[in-house]
C-alpha cells in the first residue's frame, strides 16, 4: 500500500491559534483520531487524517466554534492497524479529554475503539468504515458517515437493472463484514428489482489466486449479465486480471473499497469497471474545490474520497457543536442525531435524522477508463430498494 503520509504533522491547538491570528483567550476542543498510520490501514486512515486536518484548520481560521469560544484541535494516535493498539489509542485519547473521536477505517478496530468511546460517552464518527451495522453494534454515540454498504448496493443494483442486466454473478468473502454484507445487500436489491442472482461464490481473505473462480465464471452457460463484488486490494486486482484472462467479458461492478490508485493502475483489465463511491469531483463542484485545496496542501497526488469524508466528519462535528451550543458529549450526540440535509463537501447532503446513525447520502458511480475515473451518475436509492442493515 502506498503510504499517503506525506506530511503528517500533529496539529496543536496553540500553533493553529497563532497561525490563524486568533489572539483572544480560547479553549480547545480536541477531536481524537485512533488512526492506523502504519500497516494496512495507512492509506485510508492517513487520508482521513489529512482531510480532518484541513477541516480543523479551516474552522479555526474562520474563528473556531461557538462564537470563537473554542478552537478545534486534532489529536492523532497511531494504532498501527492493530485492534489492541486501537483500544489503547482510544483510551489514551479519552484520557487526554477529547470531545469527539474518529474511529479507524476497518470494522474490527472501529468496534474496539468504539466500545471505549461509547463507555466514555464521547460522540464518534466512522469516516470511512461503511458497514451500516456498525453504529448498532457499538451504541448510540457512534455515527457512520461514509456511504453505507446498503446504500451503495442499492444504487449499484438500480444501475444494473437500468442497464438491462437480468442475471448477476456475485463474489463475496465472509471474512469481513464489508466483503460479505455489501454483495448480499446487492443481491437483495437486485432481486427486489426483478433481477436474478445466477450464482454466489466465496473467496478467502488469505487467497491470492482467483484462477479457480475465473475459470468457473468462464464456464457458466449462459454467461451472467453482470459480475458484482466488494473485493478490494489485493484481491480485486488479481481477480479482475484473471477474470479477463479467462476470456470473461461481462461487466464488473465494484464498491468504494477499490477507490484507490491501484485500481487505476491495473490497466486495460480494469477498463469498464463501474464502482460506487462517496462523491466525484465534477467541474466547479465542492469536491473539485476541496481536491484542489488538498493537492495544494499535500502535494501532487490524486486525492481520494476518504480525505473528503475525513473533512466532512470534522465539519459535521463542528456543526453539531454549534447546534447543541455545547461541547458536552450527549448534547453533541443528540445534535448529530438530528442532522438534516447537511451540505457535504462530496457534493451530497447528509441526513442522520431517523436513520439510526447511518448517514443517508447520495452514492456516486464512476467508471474506470484508461486509468482514470469517469463520472457515471449520482443518486440516492429509493427507500424501498434499500436493504435494511
Amino acid at each position: 500500500m502506498t503510504t499517503a503520509l506525506r506530511t503528517t504533522t500533529t496539529t496543536t491547538a496553540v500553533a493553529l491559534a497563532l497561525a490563524a491570528g486568533a489572539a483572544q483567550a480560547q479553549e480547545t476542543v480536541t477531536v481524537g483520531f485512533a488512526a492506523g498510520l502504519t500497516g494496512y490501514l495507512a492509506f485510508y486512515d492517513g487520508m482521513v487524517m489529512q482531510g480532518a486536518e484541513m477541516a480543523v484548520d479551516e474552522i479555526n481560521a474562520a474563528g473556531g466554534v461557538l462564537d470563537g469560544r473554542y478552537t478545534l484541535a486534532l489529536s492523532v494516535k497511531d494504532m498501527r492497524s492493530e485492534t489492541p493498539a486501537a483500544v489503547i489509542a482510544a483510551r489514551d485519547l479519552v484520557a487526554e479529554g477529547v470531545r469527539a473521536l474518529l474511529v479507524p477505517c476497518d470494522v474490527d478496530p472501529a468496534i474496539a475503539a468504539g466500545q471505549i468511546g461509547q463507555q466514555a460517552g464521547i460522540p464518534m464518527i466512522a469516516a470511512c468504515a461503511s458497514t451500516p451495522t456498525l453504529p448498532g453494534l457499538v451504541g448510540d454515540y457512534l455515527f457512520n458517515l461514509k456511504t453505507a454498504d446498503n446504500l451503495q448496493a442499492a444504487v449499484l443494483a438500480e444501475y444494473a437493472r437500468a442497464q438491462g442486466y437480468e442475471t448477476a454473478y456475485i463474489l463475496l468473502s465472509p471474512d469481513t463484514p464489508y466483503t460479505d454484507l455489501l454483495p448480499r445487500y446487492f443481491a437483495q436489491a437486485f432481486e427486489s428489482l426483478g433481477g436474478r442472482v445466477a450464482a454466489i461464490d466465496t473467496y478467502a481473505f488469505d487467497q491470492q489466486d482467483f484462477s479457480v473462480e475465473a475459470t468457473r465464471i468462464a464456464a457458466l452457460d449462459p454467461q451472467p449479465d453482470v459480475i458484482m463484488t466488494a473485493a478490494y486490494e489485493p484481491h480485486f486486482p488479481a481477480f479482475i486480471q484473471q477474470l479477463r484472462n479467462a476470456g470473461v467479458t461481462a461487466p464488473v461492478l465494484g464498491s468504494d473499497g477499490i477507490d484507490s490508485p491501484t485500481t487505476l493502475g491495473i490497466g486495460p483489465a480494469a477498463d469498464g469497471v463501474v464502482f460506487s463511491m462517496a462523491g466525484f469531483p465534477v467541474e466547479g463542484g465542492t469536491l473539485a474545490a476541496f481536491y484542489d485545496a488538498y493537492e495544494a496542501r499535500y502535494g501532487e497526488d490524486l486525492p481520494f474520497a476518504f480525505s473528503a469524508t475525513g473533512y466532512e466528519a470534522v465539519k459535521l462535528l463542528a456543526a453539531a457543536i454549534e447546534t447543541a451550543g455545547s461541547i458536552e458529549g450527549a448534547a453533541i450526540r443528540d445534535a448529530l442525531d438530528a442532522v438534516v440535509d447537511f451540505p457535504g463537501v462530496t457534493g451530497t447532503t447528509i441526513t442522520y435524522a431517523g436513520q439510526n446513525r447511518v448517514a443517508l447520502r447520495d452514492v456516486t458511480l464512476v467508471e474506470v477508463r484508461d486509468g482514470e475515473q469517469h463520472f457515471v451518475l449520482q443518486a440516492r436509492p429509493a427507500p424501498e430498494t434499500t436493504p435494511k442493515p
Binding site: 498510520l37 498501527r80 483500544v87 483510551r91 466500545q115 469481513t176
Partner: protein, 600 residues
C-alpha cells in the same frame, strides 16, 4: 528519556504488558522446562478468550451474533472474573488430549506439532463461523481487566509456574531438557512430566487469552495468530525462556521498548532533540533488540537460573537423609541371557550372557568395538536387544524403556559423560534421588549426603557443566547412586582421570560395594583399575563373551590376550601392551571354549 515519554496514558500498555507476562510465564512452563519452543500457545490463548467470551457476552447479543450456539451457552452470563477462571477450566479439558499427544513428542517434532495446533485452532475458529463469527470480530466482552486484576493474575501465574518448576516433575523435565537419555537413565518419567507441563501451561495461556479478551473487548482469530506468536516468542528470546524471571523481565523490557519506540516514532521534541516521525521504528527497534540479545547471550538475559537461586545458596533440609538398608548378598541377581544386537546386518553383540550379583564387582573388558557399551545399553534398556532376555531379580525386564529399568533398581553412567549441564550439581543428584521411596525433603537430604560422600559439597550450587572432568564423573556416579539402585552399570568411570582421581574413585566404588551392597558392572580400558577392583572379569571380543573368571585367570587367558592385544601376543603371556589391535580372535572357533569356561 524514559521519564519524558512514560507518564501519559500508560495504563493500557501496562495492562497489555501484564497480560503478555501471564502468557509468556505460561508458555515457559512447557517451553522453558522442556526446552521445546511452542508455537501453539497462542491457539490456547484464543480458546481461552473465546471460551470466556461465550460466558460473558450478554445473552441478547449472543443470540444475535451467534444464533447457532446451544441455548444453554447463549443463556450463560457470568461475571468476567468467574468467566476467566471458567475459561481456564474449559481449556484445561480441551487441552488434555492435546497434552497427552504432544507430551509424547520431543524436540523439533514437538515444535512442529504445536505449530500444527496453531493452524488447526485458527482454521476451526475461522471456519466455525456460526459459533465464532469466523474471521469477523466477536465483540461485547465486558471490559474488566484493570491493572490490579491483571497484576493479581500475573502473581497467580508466576506462583503456578514456580511451583511446577520446583516440583519433581519440573526438575525431571528440566533435566530431560539438558539430557534426555540421562534423565531416562535415572528413572525420570519425562513423558508424563512433559504432558503435565503442557496441560498446566495450556491453562495459564488460556488465562492470558481470557484476560486479553476482557481488556480489548473484541476478538478475532487473526489476533491470535502468527503476529502474536512471534511477539511472545520475542519476549521469551530476549528475557530467557528457561526461567520465569527471564520471561517476566522480557515482558517488561519488550513492552517498555515498544512503548518508547512507539512514542519516538511519532516524532516530537524530547529535551534538546527534535525528531521527525519515523513510522515502523517499533518493528525495527524490536528486531534489533532480539538480534543483539541473540548475538550476545543465546539463552536470553536470564537463562537457566532464577535470580533467587543465585542469591540464596541451596539449603540443606532439616530432615536426616534416609539410609537404605545394605543390600543382602544372594537376594537376587541381574541376568543378561544370550543378548544379541544387530545393526543393519552388523552383529554388535552376539549371544552374550552375564550375571551380576549384589555386593560384587564385575569387570567388563574388551577391545574397542567389542560391543561392551552396546551390551550395557541393552541391559539398561536404551538399546532394545534383537534377541535374548534381561532378568532383574528373576523378573523379565527385556524391552522395558530405560526409565522403567532404572525404577527396578538398575542405574548406569555413560561413556561420554551425560550431566544436566545447566542444572546445579545438587539438582543433578536430586533429580535421581526424587525417584526414591522417600519424601521430597528426604530426597534432598539424600542428595546432600551423596555430595558429601563424593566430595562435591563445595560445588553444590555450580552448574554441572562448568565442572572439571574428574568431578563431572563423580557427579554422574553420585547421581546414579541417588535412587539407591541394587545394580550399577558404569561405562568407563575412570576415563580421563589422573592417577590420584582414579585412586579416589576406586575407594568410592569399593565403598558402594562394601557399605551399600550394590552390584557393580564396570567397563574400563584401564586394566590396572579392573584388576585391582573386580571380583570377576568378563571379556568381550567381537560381540561375544570369550572369557569370564577371576581377574588373574582372565588376564592370562591366551584367547583374551589374542582378542585384546592381537594374535602376535597370543600365548606369550607377557601381559598388557600398548597395542589395542582387534585383529584375529576368530569368533566361531572360541564358542565351545568360552561356553565351557563360563560354567565351570
Amino acid at each position: 528519556m524514559l521519564w519524558a515519554v512514560l507518564p501519559a496514558g500508560f495504563e493500557g500498555p501496562l495492562i497489555l504488558m501484564l497480560v503478555s507476562m501471564v502468557a509468556v510465564v505460561g508458555i515457559g512452563i512447557y517451553s522453558g522446562n522442556s526446552g521445546i519452543v511452542s508455537f501453539g500457545h497462542t491457539a490456547l490463548m484464543a480458546l481461552g478468550a473465546y471460551a470466556s467470551a461465550m460466558m460473558t457476552i450478554a445473552p441478547d447479543d449472543k443470540a444475535r451474533l451467534l444464533p447457532a450456539l446451544p441455548d444453554a451457552v447463549i443463556a450463560l452470563h457470568l461475571p468476567p472474573v468467574a468467566a476467566i477462571l471458567g475459561a481456564c477450566a474449559v481449556v484445561g479439558v480441551v487441552a488434555l488430549p492435546v497434552a497427552l499427544l504432544i507430551g509424547r513428542l520431543e524436540g523439533s517434532s514437538a515444535s512442529i506439532a504445536t505449530l500444527g495446533l496453531l493452524l488447526i485452532v485458527n482454521g476451526v475458529l475461522v471456519g466455525a463461523r456460526d459459533y465464532t463469527r469466523g474471521s469477523q470480530a466477536l465483540f461485547g466482552l465486558p471490559i474488566a481487566v484493570t491493572v490490579p486484576v491483571a497484576a493479581a493474575f500475573v502473581v497467580l501465574a508466576i506462583l503456578a509456574a514456580r511451583a511446577f518448576r520446583d516440583s519433581r516433575m519440573g526438575l525431571a523435565l528440566r533435566a530431560a531438557r539438558e539430557n534426555a537419555a540421562a534423565a531416562a537413565a535415572v528413572g525420570a518419567d519425562v513423558v508424563r512430566a512433559r504432558q503435565a507441563a503442557f496441560l498446566l501451561s495450556a491453562v495459564i495461556a488460556a488465562l492470558a487469552g481470557a484476560l486479553y479478551g476482557h481488556f480489548i473487548g473484541v476478538l478475532t482469530p487473526r489476533a491470535f495468530y502468527f503476529d502474536l506468536t512471534f511477539a511472545l516468542l520475542a519476549i521469551l528470546i530476549v528475557g530467557g525462556m528457561t526461567t520465569i524471571a527471564g520471561a517476566a523481565l522480557g515482558a517488561v523490557l519488550v513492552s517498555v521498548l515498544v512503548e518508547v519506540l512507539r512514542r519516538l516514532a511519532d516524532g516530537g521534541t524530547f529535551g534538546p532533540l527534535t525528531l521527525p516521525p519515523v513510522y515502523g521504528l517499533t518493528t525495527i527497534g524490536l528486531s534489533l533488540a532480539i538480534l543483539a540479545v541473540l548475538y550476545r547471550r543465546q539463552g536470553g538475559l536470564l537463562p537457566y537460573v532464577e535470580p533467587d537461586e543465585v542469591l540464596r545458596p541451596p539449603a540443606r533440609p532439616a530432615v536426616p537423609p534416609p539410609a537404605p538398608a545394605r543390600i543382602e548378598a544372594g537376594s537376587g541377581e541381574l541376568r543378561a541371557e544370550r543378548l544379541t544386537r544387530r545393526f543393519d546386518g552388523v552383529i554388535a553383540v552376539s549371544e552374550a550372557s552375564l550375571v551380576l550379583r549384589p555386593g560384587e564387582i564385575l569387570g567388563l573388558i574388551g577391545p574397542n568395538g567389542a560391543g561392551k557399551s552396546t551390551l550395557l545399553s541393552m541391559i539398561a534398556g536404551s538399546v532394545p536387544p534383537t534377541s535374548g532376555r534381561v532378568r532383574i531379580d528373576g523378573a523379565d525386564a527385556t524391552g522395558l524403556p530405560p526409565h522403567r529399568i532404572a525404577r527396578r533398581g538398575v542405574q548406569r553412567t555413560f561413556q561420554n559423560i551425560r550431566l544436566f549441564g545447566n542444572l546445579s550439581v545438587l539438582d543433578n543428584v536430586r533429580v535421581a534421588a526424587d525417584g526414591g521411596p522417600w519424601s521430597r525433603a528426604e530426597a534432598t537430604a539424600r542428595a546432600w549426603a551423596l555430595l558429601d560422600r563424593f566430595d562435591l559439597t563445595a560445588l553444590a550450587a555450580r552448574p554441572a557443566g562448568t565442572l572439571a572432568y574428574g568431578p563431572q564423573r563423580r557427579v554422574e556416579i553420585a547421581r546414579a547412586v541417588a535412587r539407591a539402585p541394587r545394580y550399577l552399570l558404569l561405562d568407563e568411570p575412570a576415563a580421563g582421570m589422573n592417577a590420584a582421581e582414579s585412586d579416589a574413585l576406586l575407594d568410592l566404588l569399593e565403598g558402594l560395594r562394601r557399605d551399600d551392597g550394590i552390584g557393580l558392572l564396570v567397563i574400563d580400558h584401564d586394566l590396572r583399575l579392573i584388576l585391582r577392583l573386580c571380583d570377576r572379569v568378563a571379556v568381550l571380543g567381537k560381540g561375544q563373551v570369550i572369557a569370564e573368571g577371576p581377574p588373574e585367570a582372565v588376564s592370562r587367558d591366551p584367547l583374551v590376550i589374542e582378542a585384546y592385544l592381537g594374535r602376535r601376543h597370543a600365548g606369550d603371556g607377557r601381559g598388557p601392551a600398548r597395542s589395542a589391535a582387534t585383529s584375529g580372535a576368530p569368533g566361531q572357533k572360541t564358542t565351545d571354549q568360552h561356553e565351557r569356561r563360563r560354567d565351570p
